[in-house]
């Protein structure tokens, strides 16, 4: 696995896809975003969305899950090979999150992330800061979400 030092701008991660069911959309929305167009088919049909669609936070949270699962695969491979496992996180935040199109019932969103910048951290000399642009694209090839996040990543080097 790559430590901060070896990660290169342009490194890309294909994270896989996720299909949003009506059940999953409504279950998430009832907990966190119970606006009617996310929980009620009839109300959604009458809204400007035209049909039930996922909370934008749901679309974002699924990216997080796929990212963690992808990383878990790399961690298991590194562990099996007896290689060190670099720490990642916490993230410090994100910017420019855009929900370009609604995610409707049955849409399959494919997620990917790309490293767009890296810099060392003054406050945490054993970590660097990675800038990551992440995108979700639906089955028609239309982007539905993108955002730019910043997170700590462990540097290779002397401990302590």
């Amino acid at each position: 696995m790559k430590f901060f030092d070896e990660i290169e701008i342009g490194d890309t991660y294909a994270l896989g896809d996720y299909t949003f069911t009506a059940d999953a959309i409504k279950t998430f929305a009832r907990r966190f975003d119970p606006q009617l167009f996310h929980v009620d088919e009839e109300a959604a049909a009458a809204s400007h969305f035209g049909a039930l669609c996922a909370s934008g936070w749901h679309t974002a949270a699924v990216w997080m899950r796929l990212y963690v699962d992808h990383r878990r695969g790399m961690i298991e491979a590194a562990r099996a090979a007896g290689l060190p496992i670099p720490a990642l996180g916490p993230a410090v935040g994100f910017r420019d999150l855009k929900w370009m199109k609604p995610v409707y019932v049955g849409d399959t969103i494919e997620y990917s992330s790309i490293i767009t910048d890296k810099r060392t951290s003054k406050s945490r000399p054993r970590s660097g800061l990675l800038t990551i642009k992440s995108t979700g694209v639906n089955q028609n090839g239309d982007p539905v979400i993108s955002f730019v996040s910043t997170t700590f990543a462990e540097r290779r080097g002397e401990p302590g």
């Binding site: 907990r31 966190f32 975003d33 119970p34 606006q35 167009f37 809204s47 400007h48 969305f49 909370s55 934008g56 936070w57 974002a60 949270a61 699924v62 997080m64 899950r65 963690v68 878990r72 720490a87 996180g89 916490p90 993230a91 410090v92 935040g93 994100f94 910017r95 420019d96 999150l97 855009k98 929900w99 945490r124 970590s127 955002f147 700590f152």
Partner: protein, 153 residues
């Protein structure tokens, strides 16, 4: 009951929503589903991370904020959703047992150029803890229906 329309939001207005107790159980449940990293799942593992102990996923903080503003005012408004989030900063960890409140400040409002039935309101939302310390900030623009159609400019 009249819903809050775009016309009813005023630049500079401040409101506070909550409090809401955030439990260890819900932090772990959210993380198990959406962000299963050790720093959000397990106290011992979390203490060895830069988070320095169990803390909520940043996305969980955003989702809690969303729920609290929905209950606080969005549900009884003409909200038409949001095109996105300008900026989120996870400044301090959200720990189990914290009572959070949301402080909302309206930064700006403007009519929509393309849709005379819609207006835009820009908010700064701050997640604050029991001691009024800011844990997370979020800047976003939300679309609202207008009571009276404006002239498209």
């Amino acid at each position: 009951m009249t819903k809050r329309h775009w016309e009813d939001f005023e630049s500079g207005a401040v409101a506070v929503y909550g409090p809401r107790l955030v439990t260890r159980e819900e932090i772990i449940a959210f993380a198990a589903e959406f962000d299963p990293q050790p720093m959000h799942l397990d106290e011992v593992a979390a203490s060895a991370t830069l988070l320095g102990g169990l803390g909520a996923s940043g996305w969980h903080s955003c989702c809690l904020l969303m729920r609290m503003i929905t209950d606080g005012f969005l549900f009884d408004s003409t909200s038409m959703g949001s095109p996105g989030i300008e900026d989120v900063r996870w400044i301090r960890p959200l720990r189990p047992g914290t009572h959070i409140r949301i402080r909302s400040t309206i930064m700006d409002k403007r009519a929509s150029n393309s849709r005379p039935d819609m207006g835009l309101v820009k908010f700064l939302f701050e997640v604050v803890d029991d001691a009024d310390v800011v844990l997370t900030t979020l800047v976003t623009t939300i679309m609202f229906g207008r009571r009276e159609r404006g002239a498209a400019s």
